[in-house]
């Protein structure tokens, strides 16, 4: 019957200003910063190449993460191989940075089978389209791992729009009650397709939702790659140590349209986009590295080259039409096809003969 409120409340609130590293005079880390930069360059190229391939009809649709590469790269690099990543449809880049074959990562967006890879191989859940529905999966998986005694943390990605869904709420609540080793990274890129954040939420910040579940909320500059990496690593370490979940809001911006099929000019002005271009995550990190003399010409050239190789691999891999076997329509509905499915498969085979 003690009705006084838990004193931890204050500690769970986000800092008043988003966490930043770049431009704060912080000492650069020669281990991680150049690597982050190299991946950002690759990531940007991946985005531009994939977008270009939609124009050539080699990809059906591509939700670009241009402008959000710092979040994508940091998310992938913060994880251990034994951890699990739960991406949304916009997070192909994070899966590629984690090591997924760049062509396989695009299967879904190419019109091929929904998940072009074995999720268990690199511990990457299927790219998830129904918003926020992947969040309870991440919680359940993390909880299961903990029950098994495995040292596994799950990192789940979601957009600002996705935080409005009931599944977001239920997932965070389960995570907190179960103290599951899971970290939620909201990439707040300002829009859900055309809908700006102001129509999505009236909260001081999305990170302020955390205290309502009893977990810490962190706010970070999502275009500051070392900052995102740092905050993620802290949260993952906390989860690993049994400290439970964290909600992180990364403030970033989607420089491209929602997908190649979207016309962003309908809902936002050039000035807004230009202002965010000035805070390009590549430039922010590149400039700082250069200022510290940590970005040799050789390194930059190698990064560019690698990026071009990635783009070339994409072009090559997506050059032909994938060949899908219609018989596969029936192969994986169940562990073993039912009599009904067997007869439907047979009927299709007849038609195709």
């Amino acid at each position: 019957m003690d009705t006084a409120v838990d004193v931890r409340a204050g500690e769970l609130l986000p800092e008043p200003e988003p966490h930043r590293v770049l431009g704060t005079g912080a000492e650069p880390d020669p281990e991680t910063w150049p690597e982050l930069y190299r991946q950002l360059v690759r990531g940007r190229r991946y985005n531009t190449q994939a977008t270009a391939l939609t124009r050539q009809g080699r990809l059906a649709v591509y939700p670009s993460s241009t402008g959000q590469e710092a979040c994508q790269v940091a998310a992938a690099l913060a994880l251990e191989p034994r951890d699990w990543l739960f991406p949304s449809y916009r997070d192909t880049l994070a899966t590629v940075v984690r090591g997924l074959d760049p062509v396989a990562a695009l299967g879904l967006l190419r019109g091929d089978w929904h998940t072009g890879y074995d999720p268990r191989a690199l511990r990457i859940a299927p790219l998830c389209t129904p918003l926020a529905t992947q969040l309870p999966h991440a919680v359940g998986l993390a909880h299961a791992a903990r029950l098994r005694g495995d040292d596994v943390v799950a990192l789940a990605l979601v957009g600002d729009g996705g935080t409005s869904e009931g599944d977001f709420h239920e997932a965070l609540n389960f995570a907190a009650v179960w103290r599951a080793p899971v970290v939620f990274l909201v990439q707040n890129n300002g829009y859900a397709i055309s809908v700006p954040l102001a129509k999505q939420s009236a909260a001081p910040s999305l990170a302020h939702k955390a205290v309502g579940y009893g977990m810490p909320g962190r706010l970070v500059d999502g275009n500051d790659a070392p900052a995102v990496l740092g905050v993620l690593r802290q949260a993952l370490a906390r989860a690993r140590a049994g400290g439970g979940p964290t909600l992180i809001e990364a403030l970033t911006y989607r420089l491209d349209a929602h997908t190649n099929a979207d016309d962003a000019g309908r809902y936002r002005g050039d000035a807004e986009v230009a202002a965010w271009r000035d805070r390009d995550p590549l430039a922010l990190l590149g400039d700082e590295l250069r200022r510290h003399g940590l970005l040799g010409e050789e390194f930059e050239a190698a990064a560019r080259e690698e990026a071009e190789a990635l783009a070339a691999a994409l072009r090559a891999g997506l050059g032909g039409d994938p060949r899908l076997d219609p018989a596969d329509l029936f192969a994986h509905v169940f562990a073993a096809p039912t009599p009904q499915l067997r007869s439907q498969a047979a009927s299709l085979e007849v038609t195709l003969e």
């Binding site: 059906a60 649709v61 879904l108 967006l109 190419r110 019109g111 091929d112 089978w113 929904h114 389209t129 129904p130 918003l131 729009g161 996705g162 409005s164 869904e165 009931g166 599944d167 859900a192 397709i193 055309s194 809908v195 129509k199 999505q200 939420s201 309908r266 809902y267 039409d321 994938p322 899908l324 219609p326 596969d328 329509l329 029936f330 509905v333 039912t338 009904q340 499915l341 439907q344 299709l348 038609t351 195709l352």
Partner: protein
Amino acid sequence: MTTTMAGALNRALRDALAEDPAVHLLGEDIGTLGGVFRVTDGLAAEFGDERCTDTPLAEAGILGTATGMAMYGLRPVVEMQFDAFAYPAFEQLVSHVARMRNRTRGALPLPLTVRIPYGGGIGGVEHHSDSSEAYYMATPGLHVMTPSTVADAYGLLRQAIASDDPVVFLEPKRLYWAKGELEPDVPPGGRAVLRRPGASATLIAYGPSVPVCLAAAEAARERGWDLGVVDLRTLVPFDDETVCAEVRRTGRAVVVHEAAGFAGPGAEIAARVTERCFHYLAAPVGRVTGFDIPYPPPLLERHHLPDAERVLAAVARLQWED
């Protein structure tokens, strides 16, 4: 006036907004953007944000708040962005929207329209091509409409919005850009229409499968079959009269839809037609449907979707020998 189905729907919404101040549109991206299919294009500009509202991204919230608005006497028209994204709102639909009038013995009618783009054939990725009509048909308390023509797109949507009951209004995605004549007067909901008379057998379809059946009927002429095509237009209530009159005349019928066959809409249609026309039938009512599988990847969808070929194969199985 010639327009697309999307254009006709847009016009229906505009006219409804203009005529009745109680009409309010709610949905994701329906305001500034005009909807991902542009069905609400220009409406926020013309009628303001409060009549055509970009909501937060939460389908149960959209349908739940719309329910509250209808309880206050408004006539909300909700857009679900895609078929599969209506599922989060399922509890609100089944447990409240469908039951409010009944639960309150008529005191709280629920004049609410839920627009859902549905079906495949547009190369959509996972969760963007479901045919979910069986769920709505199996929920007592909902009307279910689905147009196959530009004229019905306008006419049925106007009727749906004017209805004092909740209507699930299913819009066949792949017909959004199909063109046709907009005529303000169409037969009332609840009535099927014979789109093409035919003496040999009757094809029964709705929404995206009507053009497939018309094409099949056209192709059938070469094979000596004169196929009629009934467009149901409304799945609930079902027009037994029109459908059975045709089937009794021809003695043979095939139901065609994209949804999975097992426990799909065709099951009910075949069962009720059989109950009513048993002694007229030369063969069991055929069903040409999507397979009993989750919607396939776009590159395989053509195998899954009924086409004229599969319709004709089913017609051929209607025991013509005897």
